[in-house]
Symmetry: C2
């Protein structure tokens, strides 16, 4: 039964890991607002197209995004509506961390 719990944390960690890259966070942010194809994302991210494609594969692998193929185009979009919670929590951590550091400097 211990095993089961470990697997649960591993599954969660996979999701966190998928988000643990600036380009992927940017993509999630963009894709949350509207679906986009790889070319558009590549332009926004400013990396090689193959790199963006691989990032998307990682996000898709853990179920954070989904694809819709329209001819030669692949439109990606975010699947869950709870990402804002993620982002705002990160912001909170960043802010409180900043405050903490300032305090410890006094």
């Amino acid at each position: 039964m211990e095993e089961k719990i470990r697997k649960q944390y591993e599954a969660r960690a996979k999701i966190a890991k998928a988000m643990a890259h600036p380009s992927r966070l940017l993509m999630l942010d963009l894709l949350q607002k509207q679906e986009m194809c790889v070319g558009e994302l590549t332009e926004q991210v400013g990396a090689d197209q193959s790199t963006v494609s691989k990032h998307l594969a990682i996000l898709k692998e853990v179920g954070l995004v989904d694809v819709r193929k329209a001819g030669a185009l692949s439109y990606y979009r975010v699947t869950c509506g709870c990402l804002d919670g993620f982002f705002s929590c990160m912001e909170t951590v960043l802010l409180s961390d900043l405050k903490g550091r300032q305090k410890s400097l006094k």
Copy 2:
């Protein structure tokens, strides 16, 4: 100004990266309920004590946890109250991903 935005995503990614490990997620989960010293955490995590100590350093570095030293003991605790949001969102993603996969199997 582009630069500034990129830095913002990098800062966020750092936090996500800090959470992107099963042991660290477990530790965050435990530390959210109550503060614990390294020895107790080591027992719970089941890794080398030095490994746990390094994981804690990573969490502390990004401001997710804080330490209180009491003699020879170091008591760690979670600093922000928004981790439940994180975890429940992860759960949502895991669930919806599961459903999605089941559907695509039909």
